[in-house]
C-alpha cells in the first residue's frame, strides 16, 4: 500500500475529493464544537487523525504481512471510532465489519474487506491532507 498514488483524487479539487470519503454532517458537528475556530479544533483533530492513521496504516501492513489477526483487530478497532469521529463513514463501517468478522472468526471474505479498507484509508488520508494546509479556514 502506498500513499503516493493519487489515482482516485487526480484532477479533482480537494473539496470534491473529501466530499466522497468524509461525511459533511460529521465535519459540521466537529466545527460546532469550536464554532469560532478559536482552539483550531478541526485542525488539531485532523492532525491527530492523520498521525494516528499513518501509524495505524503502518501497523496494519505489518500485522497483515505477519498474519497477526489480533494486531489487525486492534488497528481496525481504533480506526473505527476515530474515523467515525471525523466523518469517514465508509472507513468506519469497513473497520467495524472487519473487527466483527475477526471476533466471530469469519475469515472467508476478510481479504477483500482488508483490501477495501486499505484503499479507503488511503482515500481518507488523501482527503485529509489538503484540508490540513487549509486548516483553520472553514471550507
Amino acid at each position: 500500500m502506498s500513499f503516493d498514488s493519487p489515482s482516485s483524487l487526480a484532477g479533482s479539487s480537494a473539496s470534491s475529493a473529501h466530499a466522497a470519503v468524509l461525511d459533511t454532517d460529521a465535519l459540521e458537528r466537529l466545527r460546532e464544537l469550536d464554532p469560532l475556530g478559536k482552539s483550531r479544533l478541526l485542525e488539531r483533530v485532523l492532525r491527530a487523525f492523520e498521525a494516528s492513521a499513518r501509524r495505524l496504516a503502518r501497523q496494519f501492513g505489518e500485522a497483515r504481512a505477519a498474519g497477526d489477526m489480533q494486531g489487525i483487530r486492534h488497528v481496525v478497532h481504533t480506526l473505527k471510532s476515530s474515523s467515525a469521529s471525523i466523518g469517514a463513514v465508509c472507513l468506519a463501517r469497513l473497520c467495524a465489519e472487519i473487527e466483527a468478522s475477526i471476533r466471530i472468526e469469519a475469515f472467508a471474505s476478510l481479504p477483500e474487506r482488508l483490501d477495501a479498507m486499505d484503499r479507503e484509508l488511503a482515500a481518507v488520508l488523501q482527503a485529509v491532507t489538503p484540508m490540513l494546509s487549509a486548516a483553520g479556514t472553514p471550507t
Binding site: L30, L33, L41, V45, S52, H74, A96, A100
Partner: protein, 753 residues
Amino acid sequence: MTLRVEPSADDLPERPRVLLVDDDEVNLLLTSVALQDQGFDVIEASGGEQALRVLADWLPDIVVLDAVMPGLDGFETCRELRSLPGFESLPVLMLTGLDDDASITRAYEAGATDFFVKSTQWSLLAGRLRYLLRASRTRVELERSKSRLARAQDLARMGSFDWRRGQNGPVFSIEGLRVFGLGAGEQPAFRSLLRMIPEEERKAFLELTHSAMDRSTVLATDVHARLVDGRQRIVHIEAEPEFNEHGNLVGYTGIVQDVTDRRLAEDRIRHLANFDTLTGLPNRRQLIWRAERALEHGRRLGHEVALLLIDLDRFKVINDTLGHGAGDDLLIEVSRRLRSCVRHSDQVLESSLESVGVRSHRTLEAVGRLGGDEFVALLPEVSDEEDAERVATRILEVMRKPIMIGLQECFVTASVGIAIFPRDGTTVADLLRNSDIAMYAVKSAGRNSSSLYRPNLAGKGREKLELESALHKAIERNELVLHYQPKIDVRGARMIGAEALMRWRRHGQLVAPGDFIPLAEETGLIIPLSEWAIRETARQARVWQDNFGFADSIAVNLPSRLFERTDLVEYIHNAVTTYGVPHHAIELEITETGLMKDLQNVIPSLHRLNEIGVEISIDDFGTGYSSLAYLTTLPISELKIDRSFVRDLGMTPQSSAVVTAIIALARSLGLRVIAEGVENLRQMEVLHRLGCGIMQGFLFSKPQPPEDIERWLQQTVLPKKAPWIGQASSHDNAEPVRVRAREPRGKPIGKLP
C-alpha cells in the same frame, strides 16, 4: 471569586473533574473538547498505566475509561482502580462499542459503574456523566446516613431484624446482635433466643407472637432476657408485618432495643411518685389510687372496705424534744410495726386487677403514710366493722412496746379512726374525712384508742368537726401565729412589755380568736396550743433581745387548767433555756374568773412559777368576784383593769369609781396596774389622772406581727411622733386635744383567756 458551597446530591460541583482515558488520540481529543464544552474539567490519559499514575495524586469526580486499549485495557484499569483505597465508590464509566455485549458484562464485572456506547453525540455522554455523578452523590449520602443510623442505633442500644416466613429465625443487623450480646455473624436460631427469656415469661411471649402472626398485626412487647454472658436485660421488641402483592404475610421487619436502663429509671420514678421516701410506704397519692380501686371492687362485688386513719399521739413533743432525726427514726419503726398489722403488698399487679371475680383486690391492702405522723391502713375487704376494729386493736397493741431511739425509750400511742365503705361514705374523700372525724373523737376522749365513725359524731356539726380536726393540725402545719400588743408606760412614752395574742392563719385567712379559742378550750386542744404559745413567745423574746435589746416580758394568756399541770414550770423553764432568755421574759396572764374557779389547784403552780421569776398577771380584773382576802396571799404581780371599765371611762361615773378602786387596791397590795382597751386620748388622760400609767390599746398599737412592732418602735415611738406622746405629761394643759388618733374601728380582737 465564587463561594464554595458544600455540594449535595442535587448540587453537583460547578465543573466536575473527569479523568478521560482513551488510547485513540482522535477520540481522546474530541471527547475531551466536547466535555469541556459541556462544563467539565478534563484530564486526559492515553492508556491505563498513565491513568493510574494520574490517580495517585489527583482525585476526579468521575472516570471515563475506553474498554479496549493496548497494554492495560479498560477492564484491567478499572479493577486496579477499585482496589485502591478511596476509589471503592468512585463512579467509573466504561466506553464500549455499539455491538460489544461481551464488553458490557466484563465492564460490570471489573467494577464499572456504568457503560456507554461510543458515539459522536457528545452531549449524550455529558448527560450520562451528570446522571452518574448525581447517582454517586446520592449513594454517598445514603452511605453516610446509613452509618449515621448505625451509630444512632448503637447509642440507643437498638438494632433491626428481618424475619421471612419459613426462615429458621429472624436475621439481625450487627447492632441487633449486639443487643443480645452476640457478635457479627452469630445469627441465633429462634429457639436459642427463646431460651434467653425466663421460662415463666416464655409461654406468654410465644402466645403473643403467634397471635400477632395469626392476625398479621404489629408486635410490640418487652421481654426479660438473660444474655449468653449472664447479664439480665430488658429488651423491647417491635415489629411490623410485611405483605406480598397478594396481601399475604411474608414476614416481619422490626427493631430490638435494650431498654433496661430506661425501665429501671421509670421504675425508680414510679416508686418516687408513689412511695414515701422516709418510710418506703405508699404515699398519699398511691393510697388514694389503691383506695379508689378497692372501692370499685367493693362496688362490683358488693363487699365492705375499711379505711383506718392512724394518728400518733403527741408525736410533735417527741420531734421537738428529741429532734427531727429521732422523729424520723421513730416514724420508720412505727411504719414497720404498722405494716405487720395488715397483709401489706408493696406492688399491685395492675393487670390482675382487671380480672373480675378473683380476689385480686387483696393486693391493694396496705399501710401508707399520708404525711407527718398520719398513716392510713386500707382494708380492701372486711366482712363487718369488727373486722376493721380487730385490725385497729392490733395496731394499738403493736405500739405498746417501747421504741428505742438512740438510747432513749419512747412510748408512742396512736388514735385510730375507722370509716367503712359504703356505710360511712362512697368516695375516698368522704371516707378519709369521716375516719378523720372518728380519729379526732378518739383524741378528744383521751387518745390511745380507736373509734368507728358514727353519724352522731357528725351530728355535732360537721363544720365544727372539720374546724376541730383542722385546728388539731394547725400547729404542725405552722398555721398558728402570735401577734403582739405593746404595753406602754405613758409618762415615759416607751414600751415596757407586750402581750402575745394568738391568730390562726387558715387557707391564707386569719381566723378570729373568738372562732377557735372557745373550741380549743372545749376540746382540750387549748393545751397544745398554749404550750406552743409559750415556746413561740420565748423564741420571740430572744429575737427582740437580739434585735433591739428587749429585756422586758411578754405576757402569754393561759387557761386555768394549764396551771393544774405539774409540768408547767418545767415546760416554761425548758422553753426559756432553749432560747437563752431569762425566766422573767415570760409573764403569764390568767383571767380572774379562771383563777377563782380553780383557786386551790392553781395556787401551788403560781408559787413555783413565782419562785423561778415568772410573773403572773390577773386578766379582766374587776369582772369576777375575787375574794380580796385571797388576793393578798397570791404570788401575783399585776392587775389588769378590764376593758369594759376603760371603755366607759368618762361616760359613766361607776366606771371611774371601779377603776379608782382597783388602782387603790393594787397600790395597797404593791401590785402593778395596767389598763387595757385604751382607744382614745380622753381615756388615756383619765386613766393617767387616776394614777394608772401603764396602758395597752388601739390608741398605741393594735396587735401586730413582731416585725411590725419593731417598725412601729422605730418609726413612731423613738421619734416621739405619736399623738399620745407628750399628752400624758401635759394633761392639765388648758388646750383641748385636737389631734385624733388614727385607729381601726370595730371590735377589738379577742385573745386567749
